[in-house]
């Protein structure tokens, strides 16, 4: 099945977020590892860019990202268990 643009961007976001999930645990037990911190900063920047692009195009991923002043769009975007993104 061909992936939609939204699915593609969500995959990119999931990859970048996962790198941070993994580095977070490593840094908890290696807080002075400069190389790991470098990766953290690099991927945090990439993830923030992708997330901003995603939210601008497809709507909020968390409830602090609602931009509309006419509609609470938090309830409009798909729930993750639906398997649509």
């Amino acid at each position: 099945m061909a992936m939609t643009e939204q699915q593609n961007m969500m995959r990119r976001l999931q990859v970048q977020s996962f790198v941070l999930d993994d580095i977070r645990l490593y840094l908890d037990t290696h807080p002075d590892d400069k190389k790991a911190l470098e990766w953290y900063h690099k991927y945090r920047k990439l993830k923030e860019q992708t997330e901003k692009e995603y939210v601008d195009r497809f709507g909020p991923l968390n409830s602090f990202q609602v931009d509309s002043d006419t509609r609470w769009t938090w309830v409009d975007t798909p729930w993750p268990w639906e398997g649509t993104v």
Binding site: M10, R11, L13, Q14, S17, F18, D21, D22, R24, L25, Y26, D28, T29, H30, P31, P60, L61, N62, S63, F64, T77, P78, W79, P80, W81, G83
Partner: protein, 204 residues
């Protein structure tokens, strides 16, 4: 506090219902070595962890387990949402269906409900971290057994991801254990319980 994100940690998109698979996989939601117990174990234990780095590991792994809980329940939901009544009966799903329809409820594969008696919060950091390392191996074992029983690649893929995370968590808990021991008497790690005896009103 926690902030909810409308995003799975790893993608799940299962297109074919399979009640037999759901009955097995639900055990990683509410079973004895499941993700609900894992999350509650680590998030409960952190209050008696007096050292900052191991407390960080308990908090962050406990949080990641919440994401795994969501993944396992998503797998169960997607495997059951389009089941026909015929499939529910022929695939042995009727005993679950009669109580829960196709809702997701934390139980073991055997039907035993989720119980906090599957984990400890002992108030003793060394005892807790040993339990945590064993818990990660027991969860890895359950995922290995699930992989022996499942043949749908759409299910196998996220289960492999979850299995791999258990191994990473085991490693991190081992490092947290070493950090705790670094604070203790190297000739006798058990001389005091740093989760109790360092409190000036309780110490001996």
């Amino acid at each position: 506090m926690w902030v909810y994100e409308k995003k799975l940690q790893y993608p799940i998109n299962i297109t074919k219902p399979d009640a037999k698979a759901a009955k097995i996989i639900i055990t990683q939601y509410g079973g004895p070595d499941g993700e609900l117990g894992a999350s509650m174990r680590y998030l409960s234990q952190r209050y008696s962890m007096p050292y900052k780095e191991p407390a960080g590991i308990l908090t962050d792994i406990g949080t990641e387990e919440l994401a795994h809980l969501e993944m396992v329940s998503t797998i169960v939901h997607q495997l059951t949402k389009n089941l026909s009544l015929e499939e529910i009966e022929s695939e042995g799903f009727a005993p679950y269906f009669v109580d829960h329809t196709v809702g997701v409820w934390p139980q073991a594969a055997s039907g035993m409900p989720f119980s906090s008696s599957t984990f400890q919060s002992s108030g003793d950091p060394i005892a807790d971290l040993h339990e945590d390392m064993a818990a990660e191996q027991k969860a890895r074992k359950t995922y290995d057994n699930i992989l022996r029983l499942i043949d749908n690649p759409e299910v196998i893929d996220p289960i492999r991801f979850l299995r791999e995370r258990e191994i990473v968590h085991f490693q991190r808990f081992g490092e947290a254990m070493r950090k705790v021991q670094d604070h203790l008497n190297e000739k006798n790690f058990y001389a005091i319980n740093p989760g109790f005896d360092m409190n000036p009103h309780q110490g001996r």
